[in-house]
Amino acid sequence: MPTDTQQQPGEVASAVLAYLATHGNMPAGSTAEQLDLPYLDAGVIDSMGIVELIVHFEREYGIRFTPRELQSRDFRTAAGLASIIERLRGAQ
């Protein structure tokens, strides 16, 4: 994932960041910091918020996260979530 400040985040990563900015309390920071922030542990969104986030991205991209993906460490950051979404889209 392009978490380097030199690079622009991809389309999906931008969509994830935009979602967290509108639906949660994303703290100020560089794009790279926001991409790597564990958004749940940092309280950006709460437990009900995560359910809405899951449903939103499944609908938006026509995918379905497996329990294993939901439980993965990757799912907990915007960058990791974007990489999971891209992998699922690619598998279609």
Binding site: L40, D46, S47, I50, V51, I54, L70, Q71, F75, R76
Partner: protein
């Protein structure tokens, strides 16, 4: 060096199959004898046969037998054949083996978020996580559906009917007089409030959940009314006059005052009990029907006619389903009530023909108890 934590038990499943359960992590796998040898530190060489019988044990209902797979090997998936390294990895994943004792001990804690799989959490957290993430179901709907037939016209013919509804019906038959004023606190969808109204009482059902109250109103029996009320908050029953109720009834709701089911839950037992005491007439009673103090949702083991279970907690709760006797009675008796009667409920004898194992288990371990209190 990995080792088997003391929380693991092994039960036979016939034909060289053994189910290893971690009773705290609530995980399990079925192994052949060679796999069992590997688990206990031996070297059989493999390949090992393994049946992945892991599932969320209480999905079928709070009262469903959590360990039917132990006895239904014919329904198991086909065995996998694994080498020693792959089996070792799976055993570690399920906490049947642990590598680091301190790391394992740290997993006994409440979940921090819906995605927290690291901590075992309490029962309500595990259930919510499973329903929302794996099954994608609304927990409120699941709760109602595991207890009632569609349309909520009857209790499903499971232990809710055979123990709770059966005994409650007998209690109400001798306790409810026509014209009595009854308050059902936490009435849910109104099933029991309607049953009380059908015996001629004038019933008010109150519940904090508006969607449950809407369903209750649709099905209201003559003599039953329903209101949304923030019970368990300061003056949550403010609309009910002092000294106006003969019997306050509460079922399957007090447990949440001892063990929160959601983060930031604010229900306050002191406020609730002060309100109940205030609305009771002199000589009035408060009847509580709750899951029994020994209700752990833990494995139903043993032969059908000699059931036993594995008791993992009583005074100090990790899994947090019910309060202990002293915790429960202490909370109520210290708030201006006296104990008048207590019953531990056995199943309806006819249920033996429906599910002999559940019947025998219920004969040994009561699933519910009834307490009747009066203002001191």
């Amino acid at each position: 060096m990995s080792s088997v934590p003391g929380d693991v038990i092994v039960v036979p499943a016939g034909e060289d199959r053994w189910v290893a359960l971690n009773v705290f992590a609530r995980t399990c796998l079925a192994l052949d004898g060679e796999g069992l040898l590997l688990l206990s530190g031996g070297e059989a060489g493999g390949p090992y046969r393994l049946w992945d019988v892991q599932r969320f044990a209480n999905y079928e209902g709070l009262l469903a037998d959590p360990t039917p797979f132990v006895r239904s090997a014919e329904q198991w998936p086909e065995p996998q054949e694994l080498d020693a390294a792959a089996l070792q990895e799976l055993l570690l994943d399920r906490c049947l083996l642990v590598e680091d004792r301190a790391e394992y001990a740290a997993r006994f804690a409440h979940k921090r978020s819906l995605l927290d799989m690291e901590h075992f959490g309490n029962f309500h957290q595990q259930l919510g996580q499973h329903l929302l993430l794996v099954r994608r179901e609304n927990p409120g709907e699941w709760w109602v559906n595991q207890k009632f037939e569609p349309g909520q016209k009857a209790v499903r013919n499971n232990l809710y009917r055979a123990v709770q509804a059966y005994n409650l019906d007998r209690y109400l038959a001798r306790r409810i007089q026509p014209g009595m004023r009854v308050l059902d606190v936490g009435c849910g969808t109104g099933f029991y409030a309607n049953a009380i109204a059908r015996r001629g009482a004038d019933v008010l059902g109150v519940d904090p959940t508006a969607e449950f109250v809407a369903i209750a109103r649709e099905h209201a029996a003559p003599g039953a009314r329903y209101e949304v009320a923030p019970i368990g908050t300061e003056n949550g029953l403010a609309n009910i006059p002092d000294g106006s109720i003969d019997l306050a009834f509460m079922s399957d709701a007090l447990l949440f005052y001892f063990h929160p089911s959601a983060p930031n839950q604010t229900a306050d037992m002191g406020a609730l009990l002060a309100d109940i005491r205030r609305v009771l007439k002199p000589g009035g009673a408060f009847t509580s029907v709750e899951p029994h103090h020994t209700f752990w949702l833990l494995p139903w083991l043993g032969d059908a006619d000699r059931p036993f279970t594995v008791m993992t907690e009583y005074l100090t709760k990790h899994y947090q389903v019910t309060a202990s006797v002293s915790e429960f009675l202490g909370a109520i008796l210290s708030r201006g009530f006296m104990l008048r009667a207590m019953e531990e409920w056995r199943p309806d004898p006819s249920y033996r023909d429906v599910d002999a194992r559940a019947y025998e288990f219920g004969m040994q371990f009561p699933f519910w108890q009834l307490y009747e209190f009066q203002p001191a």
